[in-house]
Structures are given as C-alpha cells and as structure tokens.
C-alpha cells in the first residue's frame, strides 16, 4: 500500500513536470526577445526537481537493499540462518 502511494506520488510529479516542460517549450517557440530569457530560466527551474529526484533514485538503485544504521546486515542474518539450519 505504502509503496503504491509512493509510486503514484512520483508518477503524478513526473507527469506534471513533463506537461509544464512541454508547455514552456511551446511558449519558447512563440516567444519574443523580451521573454525568452525568462522562459529559459523557468525551463531550468522545471528541470531541477526532476534531476534531483532522478539522482536520489539512482543513488538508491546503486546502493541496493537499504540497511539502517546499526541494523544487522541482511547478508549476516541469512548467513546466521544457514548456520542454524545446518
């Protein structure tokens, strides 16, 4: 349930982000010299949270299964169980 809600929140964010980005790119095509700079700045504003969320996701993926500080690593628990079982 929690994981589902988490993914829904993530997907809604990326959907809105992409929609805003496309709308800004459309505005840029029709922009005059005066507001081009403001649109460029807003495109960066829009890309930053996506870059941050993606970077954190990549770090989590790279790290693999999460271990809490001070927690017994999963591998150790597995090893102990296999010794106990044998």
């Amino acid at each position: 349930m929690q994981t589902k809600i988490f993914w829904i929140c993530g997907i809604v964010f990326f959907a809105v982000q992409i929609q805003i980005l496309f709308s800004l790119l459309r505005q840029r095509r029709q922009a005059n010299a005066e507001n081009t700079e403001a649109i460029h700045a807003e495109i960066v504003w829009t890309l930053v949270p996506a870059a941050l969320v993606t970077a954190i996701a990549l770090m989590i993926w790279q790290q693999g299964p999460f271990e809490r500080p001070g927690a017994v690593p999963a591998a150790t628990i597995e090893h102990t169980r296999s010794i106990e079982g044998s």
Partner: protein, 300 residues
Amino acid sequence: MEAQTLRGEAIQPAQTLVSDLIELIKPRITLMVLVTTAAGFWLGAPSIESLPFWSTLLGTALIAAGASCLNQVFEVRTDALMNRTRQRPLPAGRMERRHAAAFGVLISIAGAVLLAAAANRLTAELGLLTLLLYVAVYTPLKRVNSLCTVIGAVPGAIPPMMGWTAATNQLSIEAWVLFGILFLWQMPHFLAIAWIYREDYEKGLQPMLPVRDAGGSATARQMLLYSLALLPVSLLPSILGMSTPTYFWGALILGLIFLGSATYTAYVRDEKAARILLRVSVLYLPLVLLLLGATKALEN
C-alpha cells in the same frame, strides 16, 4: 504614530551593539538551520552523546550566522533600497562594513574549526561549502537571475546533511534524502516570501521569480511542481526503512496539506494565500523532522 523628541526627531527603538550583532546573524534563519542540523544528527546517531551533538549545533550555528553576516556585508546597497531591510545595521549606518565583515569571517572560521575538532573533517568541509555557496554564489546571483533561489536552496539544504555526517562521518543516501526534503521544501516557501514582498524585491533590483512574472503564472507553476516533488521524496525515509509506517502516514498528510496550500496559492495568486502558504511551510518542516525523530525514538 511614532513618538517625537522636542526637536521633532522620531524616537527609534534602542539599538545597541548586541541587538545589531543579533540582527546581523539573522537569528530566525539560524534557528531553523539548527533545527534541521539537530534532526540530521538525531537520525544518524544510534544514541545522542551530548558533547558531539552540542558542538555540532554550535559549529553549524556559527557558520550559518557568519554566512548571514557576510551576506549583509555584500548587500548593503540593495538592502538600503528595500523597506524590509533598510533598518538593518549596515544600511542604516549603525555599523561599519569592515567590522561586520571581520565578525562574519571570524565566527565562520570558529565554526569550521569547532566542527572539525568536535565532529569530523567531512562536516567542517560541508560547513565551508555551505558558506561559500551562500556568500560567493547565491549572494551575487541575486541581482542577476531568478535562478538564484534554486542555487540558494543548495546551502539551505546542506545543514541536515551536516548533522547526519557529524553523527556518522558518511555522506550516505539518508543524508541525500534529507537534502532532497530540505531543498524541495524551500522553493514554495521562498516563492511565497518573494510573492509577498515582490514590490520590495523590485525596488531592491532583485529579479526573483515573482518580480518578473506579472500574472504570477510562472510562480504558480513552480510552487505546485516543487510541492509535488516534495511529496514522494518526503515519503522515502519510510520506503527505505529509515523510519516507520507511522512516519509515512504522517508525512503523507503533512505533504498533502502543504501541496493543497501551494495549489490554492497557485490558483488564486494573491498575497493572502501566499501568507497562508508561508505559515504552512514554516509549520510543515519542523513537524516532518519531529515526526522522523519521534518515530525513530519510539522504535528504539
């Protein structure tokens, strides 16, 4: 109505050197920095030992205070143009720039030395990075581009990482999750402030996003977007096992209230709504951090 002297001069509230120094270090911002640092330390440490904990808080407070002080040293001219800031000690002429600069440098160095000695080198380096980004990158950019807010959010998001690294001496994923929460939270918060004071920022020649956004559509989009990004990132501590399901549901409710307030402000685009969003943002952050700490304490 202001009281008048016999010569007709308005009586100003008593300004002493101490009150000026307190104003230079922006105590409310420094206090918020300390709350986030304490939360980072609390989450990272298996148990709180008082000496490293308080030394980390003091070291971080000194660097944050030094950064605020040096920021004002570089912004005397723009501060003098804005109603909100013209009575600060430097633009009001109650203190010399060189004295404020020396004070800012000294307390920053003292903070970094304390962090290196009482916590670890990594935390001291993060402290110096925060100072550098705030004073040398964010402060000059404030006069150039609205993206200064995005850059300024980086040093604003490092203090909870410093708390974490002081406790663990590691820049692990948990530290980055705390960074993410703080970074994303700051945008709706600062956009609400910039919306409320946009005329003042215009006078101070600071091109914040709402200043060059007459209809408020860009500000509205970005408030909404960053609040939406904050929601999944704020749930990560529970998803990753850093915290309990209680935290998940609490953070979800708080995040939805924050998102609701940002959506309302984005929809009506007026000062009253921006003030509500500002209040909600100021409550949201300590509550989320408290929830993180409390659920960890209950678990232990």
